[in-house]
C-alpha cells in the first residue's frame, strides 16, 4: 500500500519550528579559493559566521545536524568535530546525515521535526562539500593487501601477501559522479530525461541566464549581507557571471547526451559546476526565538521525501521531487496557486524544466503520479527569484541550507508561502514548505 501521510500527521504539528537565520560562505569553483580547505574547515567557517551573527558563543544548541556527500572516512564525526572547533558550547550534540544533494534540506526537516515534537528548542542544520579536497581511495586490490598485511604474523606471510600486489593496484580511485547501479553519470542520466521531455537548448540556456541575473541582482541589492560571511578572500559566489547572456551561453559545446538520438543540449553553462562551500541554518521554537530576542523569518511547515525507480523503471534519475510534491500538497490541502515563491534546485537546467513539464502534463500526472489531471503550472516570475545553483554553484550538501535561508529571508521580507524542491543521487528527492510568519 502506498504511503500517503494524512493531514492529521505532520501538517498539524504540536509546535512551530521557525527559521531564525542562516549563514554560508560564498561558493567557490572546484580548485579555486577553497582548493585547500577541507569539509571541516568550511563547515566551521560557516558556523563561525552564524555564531557571530546570532551571538551563540558558548551556547548549548539543542542539536547540530549536517553532512557532506564527498566525505573522507576520517571525517566520520564531521559535524561533531566542527562543533568542537567552533565557539558553540562543547556540550552541543551533533550528528552527520547524508542523503546526497538532499542532505542539507533533510537536516532542516529532521531538526524542525525535533523542535515541533518538543525534543529540542534550537538546532543548526546544514551541509558542506568540497569537490577540490575530495577523498581519494586506494584501489580494492591494495586495500585488500593492506588489510591482510595488518593481520599477518610471520615475515613469510607478509612476503606472500605482498607478492599478490599488482602494479595496477597502486593507482588511486577518485570519487566519480557515476550512479553505482547504472554506471551513468548524473549528467548522462539527466540528458536522457531532458531529451524525453523535449526540453530545448534555448530554454535551458534561458533558465541559466535568469539564474545568473537573479543572483547578481540579489547581491547588488545587498540581499546576502546577513546570509553570507566572506571566506578565503571570496566575497561572492565565484561561479556567478553577471555579464553572461543567452548568446554567450549558446556558444558552449554540449557535454552530456552526445550519444543520444536527439541533439545534445546540456552544456557546462546550463549544468552546475563542481563547487566547494558550506551553509548552515539556525532553527528554533517560537519560545526559543522570543526568549533570546532572535528574529523569526519563516515557519518550517512540512516536508516529503520520494524515490523513483530509475534503474529498471522508466523514470528519470532526478525526477523524485516530481513524485514527492503532489503528496506534500495533498497532505497540506494546497495547490501551486497557494505559493508565492518556488525554489527548485538547479542541478541542471534540464532538471528544473523537466519537472515543470511533468507537472504540466495531464497524461503523465494521471498515469505516473496517479492524479486526476495535471498538477499545474508554475509562474516563472516566482521561480528561483534570488538565483539558484546554476549561478551560485552547488556544493552538494550545502545547497539545502543555502535555499532554506534565502527563501526564509524572502518570505520575511515579502510574506507568503514558499516551496522547495531538491533532487538527489540515487533517484531521491525532498520537497518542503516554508511559510511567512504573518
Amino acid at each position: 500500500m502506498a504511503d500517503q501521510a494524512g493531514a492529521q500527521n505532520a501538517a498539524q504539528s504540536p509546535r512551530t519550528a521557525v527559521v531564525i537565520g542562516g549563514n554560508r560562505i560564498p561558493f567557490a569553483r572546484a580548485g579555486g579559493a577553497y582548493a585547500y580547505s577541507s569539509n571541516r574547515d568550511m563547515l566551521i567557517a560557516a558556523l563561525d559566521g552564524l555564531v557571530a551573527r546570532f551571538g551563540l558563543q558558548g551556547e548549548r544548541i539543542g542539536e547540530v545536524a549536517a553532512g557532506a556527500v564527498l566525505k573522507h572516512s576520517r571525517d566520520f564525526n564531521l559535524t561533531r568535530e566542527a562543533v568542537l572547533g567552533s565557539a558553540l558550547s562543547p556540550e552541543t550534540p551533533a550528528y552527520d546525515l547524508q542523503q546526497a544533494c538532499a542532505t542539507g534540506l533533510e537536516t532542516v526537516v529532521g531538526l524542525s521535526n525535533k523542535i515541533k515534537l518538543g525534543q529540542i528548542e534550537s538546532g543548526i542544520a546544514g551541509g558542506v562539500d568540497s569537490a577540490s579536497d575530495a577523498p581519494i581511495a586506494v584501489s580494492e586490490g591494495l586495500r585488500r593487501v593492506l588489510l591482510d598485511l595488518s593481520r599477518a604474523r610471520t615475515t613469510q606471510q607478509k612476503i606472500r601477501i605482498l607478492s599478490t600486489l599488482r602494479p595496477k593496484d597502486l593507482s588511486p580511485n577518485a570519487p566519480g559522479t557515476g550512479e553505482p547501479r547504472t554506471g551513468l553519470s548524473m549528467g548522462e542520466h539527466q540528458a536522457i530525461t531532458t531529451a524525453a521531455w523535449q526540453i530545448t537548448r534555448e530554454a535551458q540556456d534561458e533558465l541559466a541566464y535568469r539564474s545568473h541575473q537573479n543572483l547578481a541582482a540579489a547581491y547588488d541589492r545587498g540581499f546576502f549581507a546577513d546570509l553570507l560571511t566572506p571566506y578565503r578572500g571570496l566575497m561572492r559566489d565565484a561561479n556567478l557571471r553577471a555579464d553572461t547572456s543567452p548568446e554567450k551561453l549558446a556558444t558552449l559545446k554540449p557535454v552530456f547526451g552526445k550519444g543520444l538520438d536527439s541533439p545534445a543540449t546540456m552544456t557546462a553553462g546550463n549544468s552546475t559546476p563542481l563547487t566547494d562551500g558550506a551553509a548552515v541554518v539556525l532553527l528554533g521554537s517560537e519560545d526559543y526565538a522570543r526568549a533570546n530576542n532572535l528574529p523569526m523569518l519563516a515557519n518550517v511547515v512540512d516536508a516529503e521525501a520520494a524515490a523513483v525507480d530509475f534503474v529498471q523503471g522508466d523514470e528519470g534519475l532526478l525526477m523524485a521531487p516530481v513524485h514527492a510534491l503532489p503528496r506534500l500538497l495533498k497532505r497540506n490541502g494546497l495547490t501551486f496557486a497557494d505559493f508565492d515563491f518556488f525554489e527548485i534546485h538547479e542541478a541542471f537546467a534540464g532538471t528544473v524544466l523537466s519537472s515543470l513539464a511533468a507537472w504540466e502534463d495531464e497524461e503523465y500526472c494521471r498515469r505516473v503520479l496517479g492524479l486526476d489531471g495535471a498538477l499545474g503550472s508554475i509562474d516563472r516570475s516566482k521561480l528561483n527569484v534570488n538565483g539558484s545553483s546554476l549561478a551560485a554553484g552547488h556544493p552538494f550538501a550545502a545547497t539545502g541550507g543555502r535555499i532554506v535561508a534565502s527563501l526564509a529571508k524572502t518570505l520575511s521580507e515579502q510574506g507568503g508561502r514558499g516551496l522547495i524542491s531538491v533532487c538527489a543521487a540515487g533517484g531521491q528527492g525532498v520537497v518542503a514548505i516554508l511559510e511567512a510568519r504573518n
Partner: protein, 305 residues
C-alpha cells in the same frame, strides 16, 4: 612596554626579512665570534625594528592551520601572528651589535596579550625590540618584545624570553643548590604523537628554519641530543586546543622546561583551574610532559574573554 636603554632609534625595514638569511648570517657570526672570542655581553642595541603593511598570505595560513590540526578559518591563530612578526624580532637579534649569539639561544617562555581577533584580510604593522638583558644561572637572558598593530591600534603584543647558555655576565646568580620539587604528572587528557619530520614541516609553514629543529646532525652541531620540536609549534597547538574558536581578547603564556625530542610523544593535561566557578571556561591551564621520564616539557595557560 618600557624601553630601558633610553630613546630607541626606529629602524624601518622594507619588508619582513627572510629567516633563512638571518640564520645564515648568524652561522657566520657564531663562527667568527668563536674565532675572535670577542667581548662579553654588555648592552642591547637601542633600536626598534619596524615593518609596515604586512599582509597574510592565505595559502601559507592554511598550511600553518592544517599542520596544527586546527580549522582553516580566516581568523588568525594567535601564534600565527607571532609567526608573521617573528622575523622582525629575529632581525634585532641578528644585528652585528646584538651582544648575544642568535644561534643556540634557548627559548624559555612566551607571554602574549591579544586585544581582539584579527582576520587574514587585515594589514599588520610590526615593531620589535629587545630589552632586559640580565644574568641567569646558566648564562644570559634577554626579552624580545613584539607588537602588532592594525590602523594604529595595538592588537597583539608578545614577550619572548631567550637564554644564551654559557654566556656569563657580571653578577650572575649561582645555580641554586636547592632541589626542585619532583614533577608530579596530572591526570592526562590528551596525547600528541610528533613525527620525526615535524621540525622540517613546521619550518616550512612558519619560515623558522632554525637548525635546532631540522635534523639530528644540525641540532647536535648546536649542542642538542637531536632535533627538537619548535617551542612555538607546542605553544600554537596548546593555544588552539585550549580555545579553538576565540572571539574576543586572548591571553596566553607558555614556559618551556625540557625540549621535546623528535620523534616523540607529549602527554597533556588541559584543565580549568580549580575554584574558577564564576567563569569556568575563561582560563585553561595546560601541562605537557614526557610520561616515560616523568619530566615536564612545558606548562602554560590560555585565557579567553
Amino acid at each position: 612596554m618600557s624601553q630601558e636603554n633610553g630613546p630607541a632609534h626606529l629602524v624601518q625595514l622594507e619588508a619582513v626579512p627572510a629567516l633563512a638569511g638571518l640564520y645564515r648570517r648568524a652561522v657566520r657570526t657564531t663562527v667568527s665570534r668563536r674565532v675572535t672570542r670577542k667581548g662579553r655581553p654588555s648592552v642591547l642595541p637601542a633600536v626598534r625594528h619596524r615593518v609596515g603593511g604586512v599582509r597574510v598570505e592565505l595559502p601559507a595560513l592554511t598550511r600553518f592551520q592544517h599542520l596544527l590540526g586546527s580549522a582553516a578559518r580566516d581568523q588568525l591563530p594567535s601564534a600565527y601572528l607571532h609567526t608573521v612578526a617573528f622575523p622582525v624580532a629575529m632581525s634585532v637579534l641578528a644585528r652585528p651589535d646584538f651582544p648575544l649569539p642568535l644561534l643556540g639561544m634557548v627559548h624559555l617562555s612566551n607571554e602574549v596579550r591579544q586585544e581582539r581577533q584579527v582576520v587574514a584580510s587585515e594589514t599588520l604593522d610590526v615593531v620589535a625590540w629587545s630589552e632586559s638583558l640580565r644574568p641567569h644561572p646558566a648564562g644570559t637572558q634577554v626579552d624580545l618584545v613584539t607588537e602588532i598593530a592594525v590602523d594604529g591600534q595595538r592588537v597583539w603584543s608578545g614577550r619572548s624570553v631567550y637564554l644564551a647558555r654559557g654566556i656569563r655576565s657580571e653578577g650572575a646568580p649561582e645555580r641554586s643548590s636547592v632541589e626542585r620539587p619532583a614533577f608530579v604528572p596530572p591526570v592526562p587528557t590528551g596525547r600528541w604523537r610528533l613525527d620525526a619530520d615535524l621540525g622540517r614541516r613546521y619550518a616550512a609553514v612558519s619560515g623558522d628554519w632554525n637548525p635546532l629543529h631540522l635534523s639530528g646532525p644540525s641540532a647536535r652541531m648546536l649542542g642538542m641530543k637531536g632535533a627538537i620540536a619548535h617551542g612555538m609549534y607546542l605553544a600554537a597547538r596548546m593555544v588552539d586546543e585550549a580555545v579553538p574558536a576565540p572571539s574576543g581578547a586572548l591571553s596566553w603564556r607558555v614556559d618551556f622546561a625540557t625540549p621535546v625530542q623528535l620523534p616523540g610523544t607529549v602527554t597533556l593535561c588541559f584543565a580549568s583551574p580549580a575554584g574558577g566557578d564564576a567563569a569556568p571556561r575563561s582560563r585553561i591551564d595546560v601541562v605537557g610532559w614526557d610520561a616515560k621520564r616523568r619530566r615536564p616539557h612545558f606548562t602554560g595557560w590560555v585565557g579567553a574573554e
